[in-house]
Symmetry: C2
Subunit: 510 residues, 2 copies
């Protein structure tokens, strides 16, 4: 055994624990009877603490030192060198975060999330306020513990999107706003309800489920190494590339709910299923800082894959041109008066709306900017938690021309702040930007891609994505991957071009 082998064996066992934590979370969100929540909470806490004590330990330090000495001369671009660097980075940061801070965040976070759920249901922001203040204070403590050069937000986003900063987001958001706001105004000026409202019919849930399975299988999700279940908040999670679980949710009337959530989560799943097998149980298929077994380069990079398959592929005219027949065969009466064109329009209608998770492709990123700007201002102390409802509503008016009628549909709508997940919102927008950028690169490099997609042949694209992105797991940072694929780092132009092309055509704005 070499020192690197010793290190790898130690990390593999730690990785197993992270996969087990994922299994517990999957079960909790899909299968567990309600009364099991309390003991499951204890089990998660015990294993999380144990896992952290195994990672932040003298043993890890010793094995890491020895392996680094051994690999020092090796190619710094190799998977080995990258696995060591990522482990070292996570180790040094984890060491700085006091265990008692983690414990306080977990304790207050659990209570805060429960209070948030009640406060949202009862439209009672004042009730949630003290908890949000507490979670904000703890996030500031966390940022100080992690350390940063410019802005506390940079320390927090490091947990989700290494390399991203508040300053760079400021620039990115300015570019997006400059492109999206005028486009949105032009769309809003001409938007009208479609001739037929397809979402008044009832769509049998078993038939929806069958379709979700078929469509996700068509784009390449491998059910020999995965499952599809239902969950109130759809998600994807994996316990190595050989066991990847996706979920969706069903609405008897609103058919797009299940179909696009399934495509979205299958997009996440395709990333995990196509990581190189030799990266299984290594640092390159886990986020050791967040103690989370996940194979993508970053949260944003993972979101790139889900958004690419859900939106760029799944909401394209080619996709429904090819598959609408399948849909109508499943729902002959409900879709009797529709055709591929109408269905395409129905699932791409753009309207400013109050709720992020229901937003269309054009307005979605505005919801993210609003949240991120508020987070940054809260961390700076530029705004106060007490003023949040007013700040939120003013920004909604500014970006979307709407004022929420209550906090339930305003500042209380998202769970993220309640458990302390400051810094994670921008990764959704980063995913959107990357998806457009990567697919633009694929189109350039794959002359037959448009024809393949029109023919419903997704294998060439999946192979290209695997070769260029998926297989590397977390070996490269999101920006490195983008440079390898497109020659550029994160760039908003392809997303703006994609949105303009698609919606100018769809709304006949020329």
């Amino acid at each position: 055994m070499t020192a690197y082998d010793d290190f790898t064996a130690h990390i593999a066992k730690y990785h197993d624990l992270l996969c087990i934590l994922n299994t517990l979370k999957w079960d909790m969100r899909t299968m567990m009877p309600a009364a099991g929540a309390s003991s499951r909470g204890r089990q998660l806490a015990s294993l999380t603490t144990l896992a952290k004590s195994i990672f932040v330990s003298d043993e890890t330090a010793r094995l890491l030192d020895a392996a680094e000495n051994e690999v020092a001369s090796a190619d710094s671009d190799s998977y080995r060198a990258r696995a060591l660097r990522q482990t070292r980075d996570a180790y040094e940061i984890q060491k700085r975060i006091p265990a008692e801070l983690v414990a306080r965040m977990a304790a207050l976070g659990a209570e805060s999330e429960a209070v948030w759920a009640k406060a949202r249901a009862e439209n009672d922001f004042p009730r949630f306020k003290p908890y949000l203040k507490g979670m904000l204070a703890l996030n500031i403590e966390l940022a100080e513990a992690i350390g940063y050069d410019d802005h506390p937000f940079d320390a927090l986003i490091l947990q989700f999107e290494p390399g991203m900063t508040a300053a760079r987001l400021h620039q990115i958001f300015a570019e997006l706003k400059a492109g999206i706001s005028p486009l949105l105004a032009r769309i809003v000026a001409v938007d009208e309800p479609l001739a037929i409202d397809l979402w008044e019919a009832e769509y049998d849930l078993a038939a929806q489920k069958k379709l979700c399975r078929e469509l996700t299988e068509l784009i390449g999700f491998d059910y020999d190494r995965g499952r599809l279940d239902s969950a109130p908040h759809p998600f994807e999670i994996s316990f190595t590339r050989d066991d990847v679980r996706i979920t969706t949710r069903y609405d008897a009337n609103y058919l797009p709910m299940s179909l696009f959530a399934a495509l979205h989560e299958a997009g996440h799943g395709l990333y995990e299923q196509n990581i190189a097998p030799e990266l299984t149980r290594t640092a390159l298929t886990a986020d050791f800082l967040g103690q989370y077994a996940v194979g993508g380069a970053s949260f944003g990079a993972h979101e790139f894959s889900s958004r690419l398959w859900e939106n760029q592929i799944g909401r394209s005219p080619a996709f429904w041109g090819r598959h609408f027949g399948r849909l109508r065969a499943a729902f002959p009466q409900q879709l009797a008066a529709a055709d591929a064109e109408l269905f395409y329009r129905a699932v791409n209608r753009v309207r400013p709306s109050l709720i992020r998770v229901e937003a269309d492709e054009v307005t979605y990123n505005l919801h993210i900017m609003l949240r991120t700007e508020i987070e940054i201002a809260l961390l700076e102390g530029a705004i106060a938690v007490d003023d949040l409802p007013e700040v939120w509503n003013a920004k909604m008016q500014e970006y979307l021309g709407l004022t929420p009628p209550d906090d339930r549909r305003g500042v209380l709508q998202d769970v993220h702040w309640s458990f302390g997940g400051f810094g994670s919102f921008p990764t959704y927008t980063i995913g959107n930007i990357m998806a457009a950028q990567v697919l633009a690169a694929a189109r350039e490099q794959m002359p037959d891609l448009a024809a393949q997609l029109a023919a419903g042949d997704y294998q060439p694209l999946l192979t290209w994505l695997t070769e260029n992105i998926y297989r590397h797991g977390r070996a490269y940072r999101a920006d490195e991957l983008l440079k390898r694929v497109s020659g550029e780092s994160l760039n908003t132009a392809p997303l703006l071009a994609y949105l303009e092309n698609k919606y100018i055509d769809l709304y006949a704005l020329n």
Copy 2:
């Protein structure tokens, strides 16, 4: 914090890991895609090793010593004193079992089980033979490590049924044989096929599933704290009393398969769901020797509950007198020509058969005796693995008057020996004996029980079982529980009386 509190907190965290292992096993047997097996195996191995290192540790020894000193003066019958004694017992034995022996057993056991599965499918005993020899040798090593007074079998059964010995089983089996063999001969002499074969019809699986859920709910299984799923080999498993999972399997023709497996596993589940809440996450809801989160007093005591609900209740005339209408409502065509009486006879027909898991109540224990006697003789060296097929077939002829046409339906039928589970077979018969003994005591102490059961009211029996047995978890040994409930230790008379009464009546043998 007292020393006992410190001990309890340590044990609670270890208990969480055992519950997590159960969750992983449940998922593996019900939900996991086939390709997940290999990584799941690694995850189970990592967590099992980690759990053992936490239990067999200086920390456990120190906390246990301190808590014992503190509790020494307390009532030796208290849950606290019992929790400490059980932990001490398991700790002292676990310490004696070398980790490398456990590792060798796990490694060879996994391989051996896979070879067994192939050997059974291909009726190829010679292929399995070297593995069985290996597992036998490892079990002898294990028995020597654990230690025993009289017989190596006593060390092995200690893992499943503390207090039981080969000598006592010898006596029990002699009594059972003396009662069962003549009864069986009388039945066989008169048994004839029923007027109608109910198992030629097809029974819709969704309707079967609904019935399984209804019947298990009727006897008291709490679905707010549990689930029912399907599994090729039905089982029950729990992750604390608040999350108890049962499974069954479905045969489109043979309706009793799903119904009785569901009642059987719900019987296990009722035990777990009705343990006193204060025993959650303590030594009194886990088998620390077997590293298994399970709440019953022993394997046999757990089997008492499943057999009681499956057989004593579920196969009784009162049960089908009450519920046949429900069955016929679900399957009006399939059961058009049947009535409660015919159904009762159909699910209680007695016939010597080759396969243990398909055996009726009368012949079942003969299958267990045969296996146990072979195990004991193997451990003594009185018979050799090479001679097993002949020994098996001779005993089948002696006990059941049948000779298996092949090893697949003979010595190769059960998985137990392949992974090394020597000593576990007798717990099935112990469960049968206990079930009869406990229900006889309940009938004596509950004058209205027969009327309640006839009326389909199972709550009074469940309350009585909870009060007398279930709530104590593992606080009492099986024999202690029996003495508290019936004034006697394990006694074959009630089982023999139950079988005679039931089948003399059913077959009109008088």
